[in-house]
Symmetry: C2
Subunit: 210 residues, 2 copies
DNA sequence: TTGTTCTATAAACGATTGTTTCATAAACAA
DNA sequence: TTGTTTATGAAACAATCGTTTATAGAACAA
């Protein structure tokens, strides 16, 4: 082989595919890749594509032209499972919610939710979340999670107060500190027994007008 | 013609294409459309696709299989033009900013910005926008606009105070009322000469963690 | 060395698919 | 009616493109 650097043929293919899609709007053919990556035969590409598919990087429909897809899509559909209002728990999805068709779903750029699983969205009703800088009509993107790290924004249900609140959560000896997103506001302190973790807040989305 | 309702063949094609793309991840062939819309010949589809392309609904690359694309894409790249901080005007893009490559760009779902033009995004630095329920690190999506309707969220530069603020804007006799998004806060009233409109707020985006 | 595995080259086959042609039917205006 | 434009149908052609086969070089271990 004359080109020593081409040992990374596969990575060059993996880089070429999204470039091509971005530029042309559809997937490359085997022969497009031959040209684009300066290879000399379709069989090389065929082989590498098989490897890449087996490794889970791409997906192809057999016998379908231009069907190469990067497995990581850049847009994701998040189910909009309901609304949050003052004085009532956040709807926590059970296993059914994921399979049954949600009333509505939200298309979000993948990088907004990262690689997380179990993502869902809720519409906020009323101004009860105002100390988390969340207004009526905002959409919160949640991750249902059992454990949190200090400083993460969590949705917690306060049993005594019978209300849900969105706060940054810090463990302290014998108590939890709930810190509002609005740093000018004072934190509140609660007993661990009084809180029920309902999820992490992944993102907040506010659409003005229309 | 046996089917009288098929006068809307074209609309059925226009509906079929995104459905197919959503489901399969690539564009349909002429023959896929024949099946999907229950037509009987590729020539019919060919004809309608030509009409649709001339009308600007779709785009095709001649001789390229599966190259049909809907002209309206569902994701849009918004230039991230800078940051907003307390006590300094919002960077208003000049004509250069649109052509020159921005440092960064933000992929957003198209429906977030609607059909608007002249959209750009800014990262908020500091807590100076807290009364608009906007925190440090939030991203505001702006539309550069000359005129506003009452009740729209605007970014205005207050000349005397030398600061920018995000408020809902209402015209009143002899003055402007600037209403914070946080309805618990009082509005402020300013003379029209004291304000300089810098844009409309289209959306707010808050990404937590990572 | 030998064998094995991964990668590269060349060429050909055959399926998929865009395009064209010709003929027919419908819709509509003058 | 007549003519004109637009939509439909069936079939065939030609280009694109996925796939296969057969061969060989390179890297590496035993």
């Amino acid at each position: 082989m004359r080109k020593p650097g081409v040992s990374k043929t596969r990575e060059s293919i993996l880089k070429f595919i999204p470039d091509f899609i971005d530029q042309r709007g559809y997937s490359p053919t085997v022969r497009d890749i031959v040209k684009g990556c300066q290879l000399s035969s379709t069989a090389v590409v065929q082989h590498h594509l098989n490897v890449l598919e087996k490794a889970g990087f791409i997906h192809r429909d057999p016998e379908v032209f231009r069907s190469i897809q990067l497995v990581e899509k850049d847009i994701i559909a998040v189910p909009l499972l309901g609304t949050v209002a003052a004085g009532q728990p956040i709807p926590v999805p059970d296993s059914n919610s994921w399979t049954s068709t949600p009333e509505e779903s939200l298309k979000l750029p993948r990088d907004l939710v990262g690689g997380r699983d179990n993502i869902y969205a809720l519409r906020v009703k009323g101004m009860s979340m105002i100390d988390a800088l969340i207004a009526d009509g905002d959409i919160v993107v949640m991750e249902s999670a059992q454990n949190m790290e200090d400083g993460e924004m969590a949705a917690v249900w306060l049993k005594e107060e019978q209300e849900v609140t969105l706060k940054k959560l810090y463990r302290e000896p014998g108590r939890l500190r709930l810190q509002p997103a609005n740093e000018q506001m004072k934190p509140i302190y609660v007993k661990p027994e009084n809180v029920e973790l309902q999820g992490k807040v992944v993102a907040v989305l506010r659409k003005l007008n229309r």
